[in-house]
């Protein structure tokens, strides 16, 4: 029974990818001016030979459906165009930086989820207490802080005023560490940007966990659990938390798309060599193929992540039916 559910979700992922590709196609053509001009970017369109090549490649003299088909074909093969600015295929540029972003995002996600759930469940256990209010206040604060500014403040405090952690890059330049030392170096560099990214979501998770647990604690089956003679710890773990997980899993899926946006800003502040900095450079250099390519790649990744969280959701909540 579960398999048709997974199949449906896979179909949905494919459809979303298709919609993203379609959106990109029409976005290029929605901009006033020649589509080739858009794809060449600011510097490119001065080069006549290059423009001719682009026009032929995208088939701009052909009717629209043919252009669309050509575009879809290229993307399906993994060809996201070429960046004039860097004189490299876009796909290669992105793939080179992608692992760094994934590393940072995974770290942030784990810290946010673990920390947030722990804080939220602490607050939920004693609603109205000083600890609970503190969690709420901190959450409100983090919602109001721009992530890029938070990153800069972190640099100011932890790298300038109290030099504890390295503020830039992924590794110490020129040090050429290998093996465990290298891992340690990377981790050190990852802490500041990772924490900056994580803090906003930590606040979200804490609030969500707190609300979910308080709502669940009011339900009748929790009363039944106590009536059965279970200890408070057993009630909290097996009944309250287990049911509170359900909205949290849903949130994890939504969080991914916001995380990507946060990545762009945070990576920038810390000069972390990931896809986010790439996006910024693409905007600065009017490198449109690269920018669009990043959009497509990140959208596909996020929708794959949502597929995973949807599957996790169906495991966590047996009430999910097919379709």
């Amino acid at each position: 029974m579960k398999f048709s559910y997974i199949a449906m979700r896979l179909v949905k992922t494919v459809l979303i990818t298709a919609a993203v590709v379609l959106l990109s196609f029409f976005l290029i053509r929605a901009v006033p001016g020649d589509a080739a001009t858009v794809m060449a970017g600011q510097a490119g369109y001065a080069d006549e030979a290059y423009m001719k090549g682009l026009r032929a490649e995208y088939g701009l003299d052909q009717p629209l459906p043919v252009q669309l088909w050509r575009y879809v074909e290229k993307v399906a093969q993994g060809d996201l165009g070429t960046s004039y600015v860097r004189r490299q295929p876009v796909t290669a540029i992105i793939l080179e930086r992608l692992p760094n972003t994934l590393l940072l995002d995974a770290f942030a996600l784990l810290v946010a989820a673990a920390g947030g759930i722990w804080l939220g469940s602490m607050a939920a256990r004693r609603p109205g207490s000083a600890g609970d209010s503190a969690v709420t206040v901190l959450a409100m604060l983090f919602y109001a802080v721009p992530q890029f500014w938070l990153g800069m403040m972190m640099v100011l405090v932890f790298a300038v005023w109290f030099p504890l952690l390295p503020p830039f890059g992924i590794e110490t330049m020129g040090a050429d560490y290998t093996g465990l030392a290298r891992v340690g170096d990377v981790v050190q560099h990852m802490i500041l940007p990772g924490m900056t990214l994580a803090l906003y979501f930590l606040a979200s998770y804490a609030r969500l966990t707190r609300t979910a647990m308080i709502d669940v604690a009011d339900q009748d089956f929790v009363k039944t659990a106590r009536a059965k003679g279970l200890t408070e710890r057993q009630v909290a773990r097996r009944h309250i938390l287990r049911n509170a997980l359900i909205p949290l899993v849903t949130y994890a899926g939504l969080q991914a798309s916001i995380l990507v946006g946060g990545s762009v800003l945070v990576e920038n502040v810390f000069s972390w060599p990931g896809v986010g900095t790439l996006a910024f450079q693409a905007v600065q250099g009017r490198d449109n193929p690269l920018l669009l390519g990043i959009f497509i790649v990140t959208a596909v990744l996020v929708s794959l992540f949502n597929l995973i969280t949807d599957i996790a959701y169906s495991i966590v909540d047996p009430r999910v039916e097919l379709g």
Binding site: M8, Q219, D220, F221, K223, T224, A225, R226, A227, K228, G229, L230, T231, Q234, R238, H239, R242, N243, I246, V316, D317, P318, R319, L322, G323
Partner: protein, 528 residues
């Protein structure tokens, strides 16, 4: 020595509640192997009393006086851990809504075995084995241990709750309105099961209910509660036959007996004729295949002026769908609804609109049938306004209607939340009458009301019908209520009419097995 002795129990409510004490100076005894009922209307404190015995009072509510002796030990003075050990092992409790009372994400087998393993050092496998045998005892042979609560019916879920509660053979079972959320036939089965288990295991039962019929069928002794106080208690037969307290008397008098049966109307041309009405439900979504449910299957009926036709059925019988199709809140798939000869079943909305005046509806839930943000006056004149009547006239008429239903014209300026459930239903009746309809459909209008209020609203509906010579369609799940005010009764099941005829006939000599089962399931009927 009685098993349980509640002595002068007082339970306080947090500040801001409608009264300071939930329970005041209540004393009650439950003997060994005895079934004791606490009966009362909503807000009487009966449920809180039960929770106090279990030590499960909600946050902010606390026992501030008295004692609850269980086998000689005062439960109120027990430390938390001592109380925990008793729960589930010596005293067990089942609740009103079995869907909400079971953990939705854990299988029922695990939930039952969890109770056993909370008190006995038993392996997981053995716990599940014992759970399986308990479920068999509850006649749940076909239900798998790995099933989830949402996959079972209401009756099955309640049996799982009972299996859980009885797994360690407690001395006392507390049942807080265990059948209120169930169909009447299922209710009868569950009550029979509880009685059977009680006798088999020599258990005491504390049963909380609002239904005197259940008291008559089940209880050895009964206590009547009102506003936190026990106003009368004693052996069941004595309290029911010779009640001393005036509140008890009014409560018993208000219970519909099912025997004030009206004679059928004289033969006249019917005002409403329904022929072959059918309705199927299918969710049309882009990416799913939802199952088709047949809600109505070729239903036909007639309704005369001045007559009340009762439509009786359990949940899923199609009675609500019938009402909504007749009044065009839903569009039927096939069939005719002839109002004075005109078929309104498939009329276009613009043609239908002026005809809507002639057929109006009273709804079930007093708490959601009135727009919370509009004054009573606005709610009442909304109908005339929509049909272009003069607003001054409409306001005068609204004041008259309010007086007709027993309220004052001052109410026009107030908001719904300032009124009680019974008053809101009266306002609902007034609203329905504003357009001077000829047909009134009442969809379970008293199901959500306390029994004393229920009797008043029923009388109001009957008076209104007589005064205005209305043709009334009365939907209910409670046969006793139908008997009170219906001339004819129609029994529905799975979208079809099972039986119909004059009320007296259906009650005295039902022909279908289903009707017989419904009548047999009426609480209190056997012992009258």
């Amino acid at each position: 020595m009685p098993l349980v002795s509640i002595q002068n129990l007082t339970v306080s409510l947090p500040s801001g509640a409608d009264r300071p004490l939930a329970v005041e100076n209540a004393s009650l005894e439950i003997g060994r192997k005895e079934i004791v009922c606490i009966v009362g209307e909503s807000g009487s404190g009966k449920s809180i009393t039960a929770h106090a015995v279990m030590g499960l009072l909600p946050r902010g509510v606390a026992a501030t006086g008295g004692a609850i002796l269980f086998d000689g030990v005062d439960l109120l003075k027990q430390p938390a851990e001592g109380m925990r050990k008793r729960r589930g092992r010596d005293i067990a409790m089942i609740f009103q809504d079995p869907m909400a009372a079971l953990n939705p994400v854990v299988s029922i087998g695990k939930q039952v075995s969890e109770q056993i393993r909370a008190h006995q050092p038993v392996s997981e496998k053995e716990g599940l084995d014992r759970a399986a045998s308990l479920l068999r005892d509850m006649e749940l042979k076909d239900v798998a241990l790995g099933a989830y609560p949402h996959q079972l019916s209401g009756g099955q879920r309640q049996r799982v709750m009972i299996a859980m509660a009885l797994s360690l053979s407690p001395k006392l079972l507390i049942a807080d309105e265990p059948t209120t959320a169930l169909d009447v036939t299922t209710q009868a089965q569950i009550l029979k099961l509880i009685k059977h288990l009680q006798a088999e295991r020599d258990m005491s039962v504390l049963l909380i209910t609002h239904d005197f019929g259940i008291v008559a069928d089940m209880a050895d002794s009964v206590a009547v509660m009102r506003q936190g106080r026990i106003v009368e208690s004693g052996a069941t037969r004595q309290v029911l036959d010779r009640p001393c307290d005036p509140y008890t008397q009014s409560l018993i008098a208000a219970v519909p007996k099912g025997d004030s049966l009206l004679p059928p109307m004289p033969e006249t041309e019917p005002l409403v004729r329904v022929r072959g009405l059918s309705k199927r439900f299918q969710r049309t979504r882009l990416f799913s295949r939802a199952p088709v449910a047949t809600a109505l299957d070729e239903v036909s009926l007639t309704l005369k002026r001045g007559e009340t036709l009762g439509v009786v059925g359990e949940s899923g019988s199609g009675k609500s769908t019938l009402a909504r199709c007749m009044i065009r809140l839903l569009d039927p798939d096939a069939g005719e609804v002839l109002l004075d000869g005109a078929d309104i079943a498939h009329m276009r909305a613009s043609v239908l609109r002026p005809l809507r005046r002639r057929i109006q509806m009273v709804f079930q839930d007093p708490f959601s049938s009135l727009n919370p943000r509009q004054t009573i006056g606005d709610i009442l004149i909304a109908g005339p306004k929509a049909h272009g009547e003069d607003l001054g006239e409409a306001r005068k008429h609204a004041a008259e209607m309010l007086q007709l239903v027993g309220l004052t014209p001052q109410c026009l300026r107030r908001l719904p939340h300032e009124f009680s459930g019974g008053q809101r239903q009266r306002i609902g009746v007034a609203r329905a009458l504003m357009l001077r309809p000829e047909v009134l459909i009442a969809d379970e209008p008293v199901s959500a009301l306390d029994v004393t209020v229920q009797a008043q609203v029923l009388k109001l509906l009957d008076d209104v019908r007589r005064q205005m010579n209305l043709a009334m369609l009365f939907i209910t799940h409670d046969m006793r209520v139908a008997a009170e005010i219906c001339h004819r009764v129609m029994v529905m099941r799975h979208g079809k009419i099972v039986e119909q005829g004059p009320t007296r006939q259906i009650f005295a000599a039902p022909s279908s097995d289903y009707t017989k089962a419904l009548l047999a399931a009426i609480p209190g009927r056997q012992t009258q």
